[in-house]
Amino acid sequence: MILLWLLVVVALGIPVLAFLGDGRRGRWIFMTINFAVFLLSLLAAWEFLRHGPLTALADELRMDALSLILVLLNGVIGLTTAWFSASYWQQEVEHHHFSKGRQRLYHAMFQSFLATMFLALLSNNMGILWVALEGATLSTVLLVSLQRSGESLEAAWKYFILCGVGLAMALFGTILLYFAAQPVLGDGAKALLWSALHQHASQLNGTVLTLAFVFVFVGYGTKVGFAPLNTWLPDAHAAGPSTVSAVLSGLLLNVALYAILRFKSLTDAASGTDFAAHLLLAFGLLSLLLAAFSMLRQHDVKRLFAYSSVEHMGLIAIAFGLGGPLAIFAGVLHMMGHSLAKSSVFFSVGRAVQEADSRELKDLRGILKLRPTLGWSLLLSILAIVGMPPGSLFLSEFLIVVASIQRAWFTTPLLLLGLGIAFAAIFPRLLHMLLGEPRTPQVLVRAGGFSPIFLQLFAVLLLGVWIPAALAGWMHNVVGILQ
């Protein structure tokens, strides 16, 4: 029941914000709704603790440990984004003179993006999962093109076409899955339910599922941003508002990977081979290395961190590709750490960009002297994203390296190379941003919106030193689901 309520509340926000989502009122409604959604996701976690996996609507909705962790993450980041957005968006409106209609569009599309994310995670039906991810693409296309400048239109068009084609492939994969499931589970909606498929996975036709997985992998992989399908990602991150970049990196990439993982567990059981794992491992390594090298030559701060998202998604893919309890645990931990840290990076960077009125790295300097609070939030969030101890990304990266030594030693040097280059690409720029000769601010920005950033960073720190027992239990459950 709680699952249904969660979806209803998050979806009801869309029409409300579409009509009332402008000005001060809009920002408050946006925050209130997402606070309610956050509370509901906590409640769902409580129910899960008491009863185990939850289902609703005749198994159409289902929440197990894997979806629960991501639902909680969605709830937290949805709330902090709405919170940060309150001050950030006000500044954007004043700077770009967005009309009331445009403000409503921003809030409504943001809410519909969050709604599709929850639907994707809570749906047990692989077809509805596809519908939700397509819906997420459509809402974010409008968010990326919000400024209606040449650059943002181009980025949005590229995003739309690339991800549209990708999703079409994923749909073909889903059709193939249904096709394989029909002889076993019969016609009708039941044949696309993940739980039913998982139960009978060993009876499914392995060849069909392997082919389906290839399509799904390429399709959803476009959304995850696996190299070489990641060309939309830096553009879309750079062109949209920073809050949008934060949720694109923090939520969308994770949920797309979640879809691949759901398919992977079916394919593994049906085909009895490691094909899916090898695919994840190969594309993970490729993404990690390509993104790390691309980061070296970026001169736009948001593109730099967009590539860093590709790098981290590659790392997570490697973790799930390696398999085994340790690597899967590390992969889930890295998903959480990356989402929290990367969205705080984009929040801080968004603030800095607003003030300098430029995304060029050479224009962003001496922030620590000019704006101590902003400087600290930049420093801490970027240190978290490069994997400095005691943040949770350090722990998960360390565990992934250990798992790679155990399970596939030849990947270890490549892994370390990628991590090293990524560090080398970000760290000097961080010093320049913080300590360089200050540049006079171009736009007067009211300070604000730092509490969500520091709260998220605190969570990253906490996960690095102490994982709550309940969460650790769920993460061990995920190992069971994915193997």
Binding site: E60, N125, G127, I128, W130, V131, E134, G135, L138, V141, L142, S145, R148, S149, G150, E151, L153, E154, A155, A156, W157, K158, F160, I161, G164, V165, A168, L171, F172, I175, L176, Y178, F179, A180, Q182, P183, D187, G188, A189, A191, L192, N205, T207, V208, L211, D235, S294, R297
Partner: protein, 225 residues
Amino acid sequence: MRPFLDLFSLLSILKFLAAWMLLLSFALLAQRRLLSLIHLLAWQGITLALSTAMVAVLTGDRLLWVSATLTLSLKGLLIPFLLHRLLRRLQVRGDVEMSLNVASVQLLGIVLVIFAFALAAPLAGSLPAATHGMLGIALAAFLLAFLMMITRRKAISEVVGFLAMDNALFFGATSATLGMPLIVELGIALDALIAFLILGVFFFHIRESFESLDLHWLEHLRENQ
């Protein structure tokens, strides 16, 4: 009660429609004029609706009639009509610029069809005998639409390619698997409609910003600019 058509002839009609679908995909690939592209897309939508109706008769599944009606009204009529109106309002003229000439694109298309059938062949064993080859045709139409998308330069023809891809997928879903669950199909149709509407809005913005619907204006975002 005697069925008004026996199983055999129903199946041959379905197979004929499948072949027609593939032929239309090739026609889309070769067509240079934007207006004719839209007409071909409408024909493809109508073929899709007919084949869904055939499957509905074959399987006796009532829900498939809903799907067929939806396909006819949405893909056969509404979307082509809206595209047509858009074309007139935007006053896009002239031929579609292609980055390759028609003959080589067609040859590439033939290679793709062979590839699609080779890919689908090992799967045919697990199909009900009725729909042998359908999966191959759906995959071929899908790849042809993809090829069309990447060889065109105008935003509108890219969208036609996108919609043709969608048609091919629907064809695969209805003919090879004899219908996806209705709720999923409804969701997919809804997404397609919204996607189309957003693209329509996009055309106006792109035209406003670049004064053209030519996509080479959209090539600024490159690395190392």
